[in-house]
């Protein structure tokens, strides 16, 4: 793997920091970050230290509650870590160009290091073999240790190889959590939530393969540690981004749900972004339907909140809800579809409902957009 960028300056972060980097090629990348956060009692405060990240504005909240960030598996929470080191590996597709990682502490956090790796120039990978060799710091209580974040990626299976040692009073254990669901173990009936436990029966070195078949979406694979287990190696099989066909199918499904023409909404997405969920325009429009910040705020008023504009499902849902609102606005008028597309591109206030639709009153770019979508160019 090629190292694209590295920051090894250990420091205390008290306010938001932006770490920029550039990529020469689109492909699969991995961002690893290690940090520590203290619990409130460790530094006589009234709140714990926390640290979360945004990558190109993209947040990584709890899967079940998108409003929760600080104690997400993709964040560092002092209430859980108690100043022990945690490492998070973010895997995703990134496009060519400039990117930025924003470090957002709550009170403060100790930043250990950050590295950006290029994994592949392709957006699909049969196997990713990481010889990590990382040992947990000691604590006689389970806590978050390592998280692998798959952002809009699918994963067929993964295998872990761990070293667990017997220690006085309490030995090494590892919990495996997949998308919030704790892997149940058959190895120890008394400690079923701890998948890997120290046992003379299983030996110090233990391995297991987990067949997960996760579809392209946001996923968290967590390893919690009790005492000092070591992760020697993790092997991921069949990682890939959502294919164009998968995205088209998501578009069609949502369109049917909203009683819209599925193929029309596919064509709009095609002409907006060519189905690139990471597309960003020079004006800041993002995602499959090229939604702007203002449009996202307006979509909230229409009853749907987009937490992550690059999330495929959220961008599709938000864009289609916005389109439906425009379409319903022009209901009962001649050229309803043309007016809707004109309003989509140029703004509803510029396309009066009660006036006859005139092509020669449209800006040229709007006219081209409409004719492309309708296939009349």
């Amino acid at each position: 793997m090629e190292i694209i960028f590295q920051d090894k300056r250990r420091r205390l972060i008290r306010q938001e920091e932006i770490v920029p980097f550039s990529l020469k090629e689109t492909g699969l990348y991995m961002v690893t970050i290690s940090a520590r956060c203290k619990g409130e009692r460790q530094f006589d405060a009234t709140d714990d230290e926390d640290l979360r990240l945004e990558i190109d504005g993209r947040k990584f909240p709890h899967l079940l509650n998108p409003e929760r960030h600080a104690d997400s598996p993709a964040a560092f929470s002092g209430g859980n870590l108690h100043d022990l080191k945690k490492t998070i590996y973010f895997l995703f597709k990134l496009n060519t160009g400039k990117h930025e990682i924003t470090l957002i502490p709550d009170i403060s956090a100790t930043f250990e290091d950050l590295t950006v790796f290029k994994i592949s120039s392709e957006t699909a990978l049969d196997r990713l073999d990481l010889e990590i060799d990382i040992q947990a710091e000691d604590r006689k209580k389970g806590r978050p240790w390592i998280t692998f974040v798959f952002a809009d990626l699918s994963l067929a299976s993964f295998s872990v190889t761990l070293t667990l040692k017997r220690r006085l009073f309490d030995s090494d254990d590892v919990k495996v959590v997949i998308d919030g669901s704790v892997g149940r173990s058959y190895r120890d009936n008394l400690r079923k939530l701890w998948y890997f436990v120290t046992s003379s029966l299983y030996g110090e070195k233990q391995s297991e393969t987990f067949t997960v078949n996760l579809p392209p979406a946001l996923h968290y694979l967590e390893l919690d540690a009790d005492r000092r287990p070591a992760l020697e190696r993790i092997l991921f099989l069949s990682i890939r981004t959502a294919t164009t066909e998968e995205i088209k199918e998501k578009i069609r499904r949502k369109a049917r749900e909203l009683a819209l023409d599925p193929e029309l909404l596919v064509r709009i997405a095609q002409f907006e972004s060519s189905f690139d969920s990471l597309a960003v325009s020079s004006a800041g429009a993002k995602g499959i339907y090229q939604l702007t910040e203002i449009t996202v705020k307006q979509i909230v008023k229409l009853g749907y909140k987009i937490h992550d504009i690059f999330n495929i499902d959220q961008n599709i849902a938000g864009g289609q809800i916005y389109f439906r609102w425009l379409y319903q606005h022009y209901a009962g008028t001649a050229d309803q579809l043309e007016k809707t597309l004109a309003a989509w591109n140029w703004g509803l206030a510029n396309v009066p409902k009660d006036k006859f639709f005139e092509w020669n009153r449209l800006p040229k770019e709007t006219e081209i957009f409409i004719k492309n979508v309708l296939g009349t160019k």
């Binding site: 160009g97 004006a283 429009a285 702007t292 449009t295 591109n345 703004g347 770019e365 081209i368």
Partner: protein, 210 residues
Amino acid sequence: MKLRSIFIAILLLSAFLLTRNTDPYPINQGEKKDKRTVSSATVPDTISVAESFLDLDSDGKAESFRINSYAGLPGEERTEVFLNDADTPLFSLVGYFEGFFIHNIDYSKEKLLEIRISSGHSINSLAYRYHKGSLVRIPVSTEKEGFFEGVVSRNPTDFIDVDGDGVKEMIVYHREFPPDHRRTVQVYQLKEERFEKLREYEEETQELFL
């Protein structure tokens, strides 16, 4: 009893006077306004304000310039422009405020004010001259002149001296649908009271132009 009633009335009146909001745009409460610099504050989901002092006619005296903008539901976006501390807007535009820029086209005293507003998926760039206490719009001549003014594009404009004659041209970029590694570039020149198109061409782009 009577005294107590009077005292309670005074208390209520004081409470009313203290909490009454006389500012129609109470978005900077508690925030120190530095009128020497451009500042912008955003009320969640609604109003954006930009405020500045700009010497738009290079006479050594700064004109005060303020923008209020409202998003609301689709179609409700409005931007109001206030000049020289006026209480009522000089004009109102359809769209949400995206930014304003001062351009010195030909390095003379005259400055050009560009206001960008967004509407739908497009950016509308409008150019103005300051003249006798007001802002006069400079129309842009296109194939469809007369029906709208300014530039409508998915991309912001540039002001660059492309031919090295010391006068900046307005450069407008139009993306491809679907996005492609090329775009259409239009070059406009300011001729007296309007921007006229000099030429149009296609060019390749390194990044996928969206």
